[in-house]
Symmetry: C2
Subunit: 460 residues, 2 copies
């Protein structure tokens, strides 16, 4: 009987454990979880702070009881401290603080990522008790929740305006805090082209958030007036003070355990794995935010996403018990709701595609989500990137009002990217149409045709 | 300079004309339109009757002025009566009733379809002035509108419960009429499996529509009590009387013109064309509801749909001026909104797939449109059809509440069908996720995984 140990209670570890149990109920599965919150939806945390999700327990994809009912064993509050690869043993610190060794046949490491500090001075000293927060775990969530409740802060500075930063700007605004958002890039949501990021910025500004872009934060300190964040804004010093500071400037892979065991680091200093999720260390698999990501257009990159972790974990779980599954690769599909706007992307942007050797061209288009004569139509803004040599679709970015089905429209492009379709072929797709929900040429096709028309005009 | 004449002011004819003008502004284009309503959205008519679309002019995709601004010439109220293929001349009856001959270099026939009468006695005699209606053109629309306004009918019988029948049941209900819907099949919306059709039936019944399935209507007559519809219901006579009758039992291809010119009829007695939209008659092209449909899973069928007409018309317009475009084929994607429910399908259902030689298996699944912890989540009901031999996706059917992005979720399957993906590959797709709008495994993947699990259990 194989004993599989999965390290990590988040998407990768749990997916691996579930898959192994599903495929072979004879497999003994132990999941080592550093805290007591296995299988929580970290992506859902901002909605706990808006008040839309209550109580916090409902953020669990599955309860501990649900997980145990599948036959896996959970070791909560248990921290993996070392791997003895040749001895097939995992060293852990158990809830009592004791070091213990667990024997395994197969080991799946899903230790994920850690919040980045981006070199901001003060973050090593200041923490939740000072009103300075990160938000990456349920522990962080409880600390922030307590702080909001106990101190009733009136103002917040959010450092970073990526997905989580924007969602938390919404959450703090909904809770009545005055929010200042400091962003290093020239526009918020820098994973989108600035033309579309600007629409997201308009949306949060319309809800009262002060947005300061082109700002590199260098330090945070406690002052009599509160918490003072300092940095540079277009070459000039900048300073903002608020009652609370939240730093959400991305993550870095948590690789210590695998590095010490002899694994190799690659893109983004994440652990190198192959498409079977093999680390190269015998019987040691890895998945999730701690590893490099196979990408269908880029080869290999670092792109930590929950959807990817689920897929990789499933592959690792299957292979750890003798399967032959292969991670098919990400195309980088992402979506975020910010107040009443939805912004999504898949594939590559122009500069990313150029950097990867494609002959990229990007065109903009707007098309209504459904026939304008039917009430409630709204335009969706598109940016389509393709290769001018062979017409291949390389990427798509969409922003539209909530309700315009942006999140599932991006999936059409994501599916086309997976299949390697050309932009011309997007027009061939037999997409659904009824006037309240679409157009005879769906908006995704109108945007594709605009790209094709531009390309044709260049060829003349 | 090429002179292209397109016959038909609906999707196929206009799409051909637009494409020819777009690609070569030197092309002279004339569109012969039987009525005075070119480029109207016939699919939008039900929403004119709900009152959501007003005035009727807004149903035009483009106005006559918009069309003429592209450089095409419109011949309105002009009826094509004959084609002289060898002489390259089209005979028309002009608005004065005069027969006229128009010379062409290329001819694109988009004469569409006509409402089916399904052998119902009385339909040859009774018309709008009697309160008996079909709904296929703007003329029909005005006649029904006048009747509703002038006579103020209190009750309506709708014969047929397909897409248009269901949309009109909603429209009449919204306008305060008592509606009885008579349906030949065992369930409404017989393009879906009855398990899903039943959900649509529940929806219209919840809004007060009386639904009688398994009913073959044989006659309509005027009686002192109103209009009496007679037929058989499960072998027994059935009779219903109402103030107004609407017959929406499908369409038949309008092929007279091409048949007389020597074209061949095929599937559904529609005109045979190849994938370049060639009729076989020199310089005569055809597109739209009057022709057979190339289908990526069936080869050739008859499946009149506006989306298909647009694509075919575009191909015909391009080829008529010397292009080499090819219609990529339909996969039969369709969607309908019925009150607050959205029902969609793409590809083949089980019996259709079996009939076409596939080893079909269909499984049911339900999955939430987004994470349940976030407010407003609703389950989507799925039925997935695949080939048990090679795992290929063959079809998908979805029903969910409005707002669950069913119409764009079916597009993911439609894109996968286009690309010939397996159901396993649906799980590989990098689809978008944020808790308010999806799940780490999107509902479309959960449904695919249910199919795979069933298949795996059969292989054990």
């Amino acid at each position: 009987m194989t004993h599989l140990i999965a390290i990590g209670g988040s998407d990768a570890g749990i997916s691996a454990a579930l898959r192994a149990r599903e495929l072979d109920p004879a497999t003994e599965v132990t999941v080592v979880v550093a805290d007591e919150y296995p299988n929580f939806s970290i992506c859902g945390i901002p909605y706990y702070f808006t008040g839309e999700v209550q109580p916090w327990q409902s953020l669990a994809h599955r309860t501990a009881a649900d997980l145990e009912a599948t036959g896996m064993r959970l070791r909560l509050n248990t921290y993996a401290t070392g791997i003895d690869v040749s001895g097939h043993r995992l060293e852990v610190r158990n809830p009592d603080g004791q070091i213990e060794e667990l024997a395994y046949d197969e080991l799946m490491v899903g230790t994920g990522a850690l919040p980045s500090h981006a070199g901001i001075a003060g973050l090593d000293r200041l923490g939740p008790e000072d009103g300075v927060h990160v938000i990456h775990s349920m522990g962080d969530t409880f600390a922030l929740d307590r702080d909001l409740t106990d101190r009733q802060p009136q103002s917040a500075i959010i450092v970073g305006a990526g997905y989580v930063g924007l969602e938390m700007a919404e959450a703090f605004t909904v809770r009545g805090l005055r929010v200042t958002q400091l962003q290093r890039g020239s526009e918020v949501l820098s994973t989108l082209d600035p033309e579309l990021g600007a629409l997201v910025r308009d949306e949060i500004e319309a809800h009262g958030v002060e947005v300061v872009t082109d700002t590199t934060v260098t330090g945070i300190e406690k002052t009599p007036a509160g918490l003072t964040v300092t940095g540079t804004h277009r070459g000039e010093p900048i300073q903002r003070t608020a009652d609370l500071v939240l730093v959400v400037v991305g993550v870095r892979p948590n690789t210590e355990l695998l590095e010490q065991a002899g694994a190799t680091l690659g893109a983004g200093r994440a652990v190198v794995v192959d498409e079977w999720m093999r680390t190269g260390l015998p019987h040691v698999w890895a998945a999730g935010d701690g590893i490099i990501t196979h990408h269908r257009l880029l080869g290999v990159t670092y792109l930590p996403l929950g959807t990817t972790s689920h897929k990789q974990g499933r592959v690792a779980g299957e292979n750890a018990i003798g399967g032959d599954a292969r991670f098919a690769g990400s195309v980088g599909t992402q979506v975020v709701k910010v107040f009443d706007l939805v912004a999504a992307r898949t594939g590559l942007r122009d500069h990313e595609a150029e950097g990867a050797g494609y002959a990229a061209m990007t065109t903009a288009a707007a098309a209504d989500d459904h026939k304008r004569y039917y009430p409630g139509a709204h335009p969706i803004q598109f940016r389509i990137t393709g290769d001018t040599r062979d017409g291949r679709l390389l990427g798509a970015q969409l922003v539209g009002r909530r309700g315009t089905e942006v999140s599932k429209r991006v999936d059409t492009y994501a599916t086309a990217l997976y299949a390697g379709l050309t932009i011309e072929q997007i027009s061939d797709l037999d997409l659904s149409y009824t006037p309240p929900l679409g157009s005879p040429w769906d908006a995704v096709q109108v945007a594709a045709q605009a790209w094709s028309a531009t390309r044709a005009s260049l060829l003349v």
